[in-house]
Amino acid sequence: MDTINQMVDTLAVSSQSGHSGINVWMIVAFVELGIIILLLLVRGKQDNAKMEAKKRVLQEGDIDMQNIVTSAFNAEPIYKELIAKCHPDRYAPDEAKMAIADALSSRITKSKHDLRALAALRQEAEEKLNI
């Protein structure tokens, strides 16, 4: 009988201590969970902004790969030729033509690596400056 009483006491003590232990750790676990959820929500907001920016960039339109590949080797000679032919000093003292050449030169420099744009600029230069 004593043994049974002792066992019952032991069980009661262990269950009490176990219960109080679970409560403490449960609180800690809930706090941790709260922190994790908060972090995920904050990160989620950042991700949304990131995804929006990405979506905008991906909708910018098609890329002309053919032009990029051919420009890598063919744009530079055309650029050098055009930039020499469209130099404003070549058209002095005609100020109107000098202004056109100046504008064309800056556009040619901007399109230095774009073969298609350079071809269009050459045509424009031929029409406006008779190069």
């Binding site: 991700d47 910018e60 339109g61 053919q66 990029i68 051919t70 890598a72 690596h113």
Partner: protein, 135 residues
């Protein structure tokens, strides 16, 4: 609920990114091959994914394959000017560079099939330079 939505979006984004990255590389390789076959360029170029430079990382960088590598099959060592010209042509196209950045690439590498010489550029920096030029 928001967490599950974010997680789901991330999974979808990962698959879409893979598809877009593969499409970009395929597009480049197809154009390079066609240009070479038609005699428009003297060198065959091939793009692939590589390990990028860890110091070039940005917010969109992929964990492992953040390098965009272009290999030029010239059969000889290309000069630095040639390699720089290939890189400069890629970098001059703002739309392409922006797309590469958001698809997770942070390093552009150009080298040829002979020799150990090559050049690499930090893509994110090029966007900043492009924005400054546009202003």
């Amino acid at each position: 609920m928001a967490i599950i939505t974010n997680l789901w979006n991330r999974i979808i984004e990962w698959f879409e990114d893979r598809q877009s990255r593969a499409a970009l590389i395929r597009g480049f390789n197809r154009s390079a091959k066609e240009a070479f076959v038609h005699g428009e360029v003297p060198v065959l170029m091939e793009a692939s994914v590589s390990r990028g430079d860890p110091s070039y990382r940005h917010m969109y960088s992929k964990m492992l394959d953040s390098g965009f590598r272009i290999k030029a099959y010239a059969g000889r060592q290309l000069s630095k000017q040639d390699i720089m010209a290939i890189g400069a042509t890629i970098l001059a196209n703002d739309t392409l560079v922006r797309r590469m950045v958001v698809l997770g690439w942070d390093t552009l590498q150009v080298h040829c099939d002979v020799g150990n010489y090559g050049c690499q550029w930090r893509l994110y920096e090029m966007i900043m330079i492009g924005q400054q030029n546009n202003k």
